[in-house]
Structure formats: structure tokens, C-alpha cells
């Protein structure tokens, strides 16, 4: 149990996908304008990442390795991820049209979200068992959601600030996320 907690802390905070591994920057910049859509995006990504972790582990161990098709890894992973994303999109469209609208183009783009593919590939490299792979994927997604929420909160505040003209929009968002990354460096070397 405690090991599971430690794995989650390690993946979510110490090796945060966005701030430490620099994966998934596209949605982190794109869907962080309001906390509500950030939460929606985070949950959608969590769903996809967890499912994709499970699916990619299964593919790796039951299909690619036995048939010595590791060179197809990226291809198959993309295929699976794309399908999961499609499914998520259909589901969200049905369940929450408002969220569907606010996520916009970034929802189908989870397919090409490098965090998803990146975590799936890293996951395989770690050589975890099935359960730990899923936990790894879930923990990474948790970290992604956390950063997205925090960042969205900050951006909501900055949206009301009188930022100098040269820094409005993306520049101030980059400054903010870099300072956030600075703060997260405090977790580096966390001995867990």
C-alpha cells in the first residue's frame, strides 16, 4: 500500500509529466484558461492515460513481445490511444456537451498528446508489472491534472491582472508555468 502511495507521489510530483518531463505542454497551455475546463481535460486525460497504460502493457506483453514485433510499438500504441480517445470524445459529447464545447479541439488532440504516448512508452521501459503500469499511468495523469488545475487557477487570476502589453497572452502564461516548474523543483530528490 505505502509503495503504491509512493509511486503515485513520485509520478505525480517528483517526476511530473508537464513540469519535469515537459510532456503534454500543448493541452497544458491550451486548456488552462479556466479551472472547470482544466478539470474536465484532466479527467479525460486521466481516463485515457490509465486505459492506455493498461492497453499498452497488454499489447506489449501479449502481442508485441511474443511475436517479436517491438518495432511496431509506436504504431500499435497510437492505434489504441486513438481509439480510446475517440471513445472518450463520444462519451463526453453525450454526457456533457458544455465540457465538450470548452475542450474543443484539444479533446481529439489527446491522441497526439505526447504525455499519453510518452507515458505509455516510458511505462514499457520501466518494466513494471500490469498493476504497477496502470498505477504509473494513473499517477502521471494525476500529476498532469494537478498541474493543469493549478495553472488554470493562476491563469484565471492573471486574466484579470494588468499585464504589460508585451506580455499579455502566451508570454505571461509561459513565465507563470516556468515559475511553477521552479516551485516543483523543490520536490526533486524527494527520497521516496
Amino acid at each position: 500500500m505505502s509503495e503504491l502511495v509512493l509511486l503515485l507521489i513520485s509520478t505525480a510530483l517528483v517526476n511530473n509529466v508537464v513540469l519535469i518531463k515537459f510532456l503534454g505542454l500543448c493541452p497544458a497551455m491550451g486548456v488552462s484558461k479556466s479551472m472547470d475546463s482544466a478539470l474536465g481535460m484532466g479527467m479525460a486525460t486521466t481516463f485515457v492515460l490509465t486505459l492506455a497504460s493498461a492497453a499498452s502493457w497488454s499489447l506489449e506483453h501479449w502481442l508485441l513481445v511474443p511475436m517479436e514485433l517491438q518495432f511496431l510499438r509506436i504504431l500499435t500504441f497510437i492505434l489504441v490511444i486513438a481509439s480510446v480517445v475517440q471513445f472518450t470524445e463520444m462519451f463526453i459529447k453525450k454526457a456533457s456537451p458544455g465540457l465538450y464545447q470548452s475542450l474543443g479541439i484539444y479533446l481529439p488532440l489527446i491522441t497526439t498528446n505526447c504525455a499519453v504516448l510518452g507515458v505509455a512508452l516510458l511505462n514499457v521501459q520501466q518494466g513494471y508489472g500490469f498493476f504497477w503500469s496502470v498505477a504509473y499511468g494513473f499517477g502521471s495523469a494525476l500529476g498532469f491534472t494537478l498541474v493543469l488545475m493549478i495553472f488554470a487557477g493562476l491563469r484565471e487570476r492573471i486574466a484579470l491582472a494588468r499585464v504589460p502589453g508585451a506580455f499579455t497572452g502566451a508570454p505571461i502564461a509561459f513565465v507563470t508555468i516556468s515559475l511553477l516548474a521552479l516551485a516543483f523543483m523543490g520536490f526533486s530528490g524527494l527520497n521516496v
Binding site: 487557477g153 487570476r157 492573471i158 513565465v175 515559475l179 523543490g186 526533486s188 527520497n191
Partner: protein, 366 residues
Amino acid sequence: MSISYNAPQTFASPHAHGSNGVRRTMVRVQMALLPATLFGFWLYGWPAFFLWLITLLSCLVFEFMSLRLLGQAQIGRTLGDGSALLTGWLLAMTLPPWAPWWVGVVGAFIAIVIGKQVFGGLGYNVFNPAMVARVALLISFPLPLTTWVMPLPMTTALAPGFIDSLHITLGQVPIPDAMSSATMLGYAKTELSRGLDLLQALTAGHAPQLSWFGIRAGSLGESAAVLILAGGLFLLATGVIRWQAPLGVLAGVAIPAAIAHAVAPGHYLDAGTHLLSGALMLGAFFIATDYVTSPTTGGGQIIFGLGVGLMTWVIRSIGGYPEGVAFAILLMNALTPIIDRYTKPRILGRTRAGRPIDLPSAGKGA
């Protein structure tokens, strides 16, 4: 008798105002910092004073330049509100007293320009500027930021003179090894990483001694915990700060520290050491209480404080850095909008969720 009065503009109510002002607040905080700062000057000599001065002046210069670039009118008034001065002062309080001059200048640039002005200036920054600068400096220049000196009070013979001190601050003379020392937290971290047990390490002859009055290695804002505490109590008494955030920070450190120390005294420092070490007092009373970057409600401030304390302890005890106050503050600054969102006060006549309250069924007639 004719009454000649013409309103020069449309005034909105109210037509009376309280006496509190931004400047007064800033001046009070600076007054509260003064005893610990003067004590630090005495303890670490002229280099500490030079670094402090350079940091403050750089902050003012960078503030002035930013305001000029932004084309703001009334630059003098904005400089006069004392906020840039306070940022520089707080930053200087956290630097190693004998650090070279450029540490102060670079720190001031990061604090004022990147930490504050690009967000729109006073009141709009989301991270505490002094802590942004402290962390950025620590990560970028670990060596000068972790080189501490033994206390060499000005009155003692060993203390460097005025000219020698200038050389030290200008970085022309390396700090002699004999004078360098470790802070309590740094020492504990080093010894632990060498695989030593704290019980043995702390009883060794060369271990830094903990002292309330702070004749020990550290930054200006670290050594004299009691003077910082006194400044904090002054701020509490004058109503500049409120008790929630400082208490939260102290409790957030002390509680996990006490538990962990009770379980494994060989691996974890005790609560007292944690409270008196590092920038904890400074952080609790002067930085976690920063209006701009901390939550607005009392409840939110307690959560904020507890978070700062807990993360400080986590980073100190199991993280890679000996000191974690600055990181903890930045992390909680980042969480502030979320805390604010969930600790809004209840609106009169509404539930916490914002819906109008229900009528008491008895109160309504048929």
C-alpha cells in the same frame, strides 16, 4: 447668502475613509524587520550590510526601470509605496550574508522584473517575488547560495574591516575555508547523506549549535529567530498580519516533525530545531502573510499555512534540499487561487454553494 460649490467630478460613495494605507503597512513590516537585520549586520559584519544595501538599491533601480519602460506616470509615488524596498529587504534576509554583489543584483532583477512587473506590478503577481528570486538563485547558482560563514561579530578582532568587506562583497577574495560553516539544516542533511545517524552527528563537537539568539551560521533572517518572532508579534499586534497563516506554518512544521522525531529520532530532527532553523520564522511571519500571494479568508490562510509548513518539512526531511521554505511558499502560492475558490465566505442569505437559503417553514404564513 449664496453658496458657491460645484463638484469637480462625480464622486461615488462613501465620502469617508479609514486611515489605513499601503505605505503605512509597508513601513510597519520594515520596522518589524529592523531588529533582526541590525543584529545580522553586527553578527556577520560589513559584507552583510553591503549585500543588503546592494539588493535593496537594485530592487529600486529595477522597479524604476520597469515602470519607465511601461510608460507609467507617477513613478516616484509607486517607488515610494515601499513595496519594492520590502521585496529587496526580504530577499536580502534570505541570502548568505557574504554572497558576492551580483547575487543581490541578479536576485533583485528576478524578483522585481520576472516575479512582479511582468504580471502587472504590485498586487498582480501570483508568486512571492522574493521567494521566486531566492529559488531561482538557489537553482542557478548553488555554490554561492550555500556558502555560509561563521558568525564573526563586528566587535571581534577576526571580523573583516570596511575595505576587506568591500573586497568580499565584490567577490575578489574567496571566503576562507576556515570561516565557512554550515547551517543546522545543511549539516544535518550532509551527515545523513553520509549515512550517519543524527543522534551521533548532532552530539559531535563540530555540529552547529542551535540557539534562540542565533550566534550561528545562516542568513540574516535565520540566525536570530527570536528577533524575527518579535517582529512578527509586532505585526500581529498592530493588525498588519493575522494569526492564521503564521500559526498554520508553525503547526504544519512542528506536528509532522514531532511525530517523525518520536518515531525515528535518528533520521528526523526534532520540532524545536525545525522551528528555529532556516527561514521558517521569517517565512511564517513575513512571507506566508504576504497579502498578494496568500488566500483572502482566514480559513484559506490556515490551509495555506499548514501547506507551507508541511511541504517545508517534507522537503527538509526527505527532499534533496536542506531548506524548503522558499519552495513550499511558491508551491502554496500556486495553490492559492484553488484555495480561494473553495474557501469563499458564505454570502448572507445564501448557502455555501451560492443558492438562496430555504425559508424556515414555520416562518411563512399560509
